[in-house]
Symmetry: C2
Subunit: 317 residues, 2 copies
């Protein structure tokens, strides 16, 4: 649990209008809001995957109790896996093409504590090719809040990287690649793990070379991976090169699939280290990319969600 202020300077109580919540598989983050401005924030590792259905409300209260007044109801607007079937309350997906937010589809969750009123933002689904997102739609809404005319491709790199085609204020289509998860599985659990760990060094030239190789020849990924082990055994390839090559091979294989959608400039919406990695890989693929922020866009999207709810008849938050 962390705050923007050190504990000694944290007041016992903060007056807030509403609470913004980003609740993913492995994280929970909350912002205390006055109007459109955050005045405090807190986070814990009480992600969806660590909770059963009865665990969500206590996990949230543990983080935000200090922000709740007595004798009044504070709206909580949450996005992410909290709205999945295994979440606090299921918020059924909206089907693309559609705008990323719609007050009529936000779902009111039941709460035991009378001081909070919960609203959950639904994710998006695509029928064919089948795909789903939860949380990223709110970042896209945040992107559009700052740039309502944005038209093009947004990339949200992460465990499950999303590529989202936006046009006319709507999400037209999207594709998910479990590139980050594959990296984690291979680095943590495969026969390659011994050759990848032990230090943080990173060989950018090896990354760039691997991206180019995989763009040119995406077939045989499982062979390129074994090559990392053999290069270590036979030629002493170090962890900095092996890790960078693993990342480059996986991202290159991903970019190779984008084909004609890979026209720039791409907006990158992720952690800055991942944004840099994808920007470098996109440059090798001949595509411009511009960073659009990550956390900031989630909060901007949740703020827009609150306005959308307030303006919707009978759904005031």
């Amino acid at each position: 649990m962390s705050d923007t202020l050190p504990a000694s300077q944290t007041p016992d109580w903060i007056a807030v209008d509403w609470i913004a919540v980003d609740w993913g598989t492995t994280h929970l983050r909350a912002w205390a809001m006055r109007g459109d401005e955050p005045v405090a924030r807190a986070a814990s590792d009480a992600g969806m995957s660590s909770l059963d259905r009865d665990g969500f409300e206590p996990a949230l209260l543990a983080l935000v109790t200090r922000w709740l007044g007595t004798g009044r109801v504070t709206p909580v607007i949450a996005c992410g896996m909290v709205g999945s079937r295994q979440g606090w309350v299921e918020a059924p997906y909206m089907a693309v093409p559609c705008g990323p937010l719609n007050a009529d589809h936000m779902v009111r969750g039941t709460t035991l504590d009378p001081r909070i009123a919960l609203w959950v933002v639904p994710g998006l689904k695509q029928d064919a090719p089948a795909d789903v997102m939860r949380g990223e739609e709110t970042q896209i809404a945040g992107l559009l809040a700052g740039d309502p005319r944005f038209s093009g491709l947004a990339c949200l790199p992460g465990t499950h990287t999303k590529w989202v085609t936006v046009r006319g204020g709507e999400v037209q289509s999207f594709s998910t690649f479990m590139t980050g998860e594959l990296y984690g599985l291979i680095a943590g659990h495969s026969v390659l793990r011994h050759g990848l760990g032990g230090q943080d060094a990173w060989d950018h030239a090896a990354f760039a070379e691997a991206v180019a190789e995989a763009l040119h020849q995406p077939a045989g990924l499982a062979g390129d991976l074994f090559r990392l082990r053999a290069e270590g055994l036979l030629h002493g390839m170090g962890a900095a090169v092996a890790r960078a090559r693993l990342s480059g091979l996986l991202i290159g294989n991903e970019l190779a699939a984008l084909g004609e959608r890979r026209v720039g400039p791409v907006r990158l919406i992720g952690a800055s280290s991942l944004n840099r990695l994808y920007a470098a890989a996109l440059a090798i693929a001949g595509c411009e990319a511009a960073e659009a922020g990550g956390d900031d866009l989630t909060l901007a999207g949740l703020t827009l969600a609150r306005h959308t709810l307030m303006e919707a008849p009978r759904r005031r938050a």
Copy 2:
């Protein structure tokens, strides 16, 4: 530990000329041999990965003590990871192109028990693209023992599938794909695991379709994988289809990389279930395949190794 005979019928002692051993990362198998004929066999799960250096001899003796005479030395000829740096004794790789067996490169290991004399068959290495094998060279030797003029591509499917180009009695080149390991990681540890387990059913049409898709479009494997999850969430794709598609996508991506080397007929050297899978995938790629046996070829290769050693000056086994 298992024997060909039920325990009640197993004699206390079996007279043997030598012992053949296949010792991999996760398994240990031994055959009691009279001349070129196996008269008993035993196996345990004391693979290399579960042993430290001092653990190899006890693990072997636990399996073969009944086959050892008193007052005489029984040669033991072993192939596989037992010859790796983390094995009983390191048998340095031979560089391709070369014959799969060479008495001058077999390594004599030290043993504490005077009743056995250990010889370890070295693996093969390829400088560029970097690659290594341990154990499969013995199966190739077994293939050549039965068909000395074989020229073409052998496929040894498994955790790390090997494709081996054989010509003129030599291994010319080879490539390893960690396809089986990726399958295991994804099925056992990824977000897809819940959609893949719980039953043994298998949808062959889904396998064939996925092979064809991956052959045609090997890029974006991490996206094809996430599609399995989304199809389960949105359209109720069952485990039998998801598992078959996962396998087909991975094998199709592998076959796509073989390109012009994919000219038949390919000899398949593996467990029969894997051989059938690869034969079906190869047929979709327009390539004939014929099964050549797996275990049998290991024993044939070890038998050839013994003859090679007996014929070599000063290296009699």
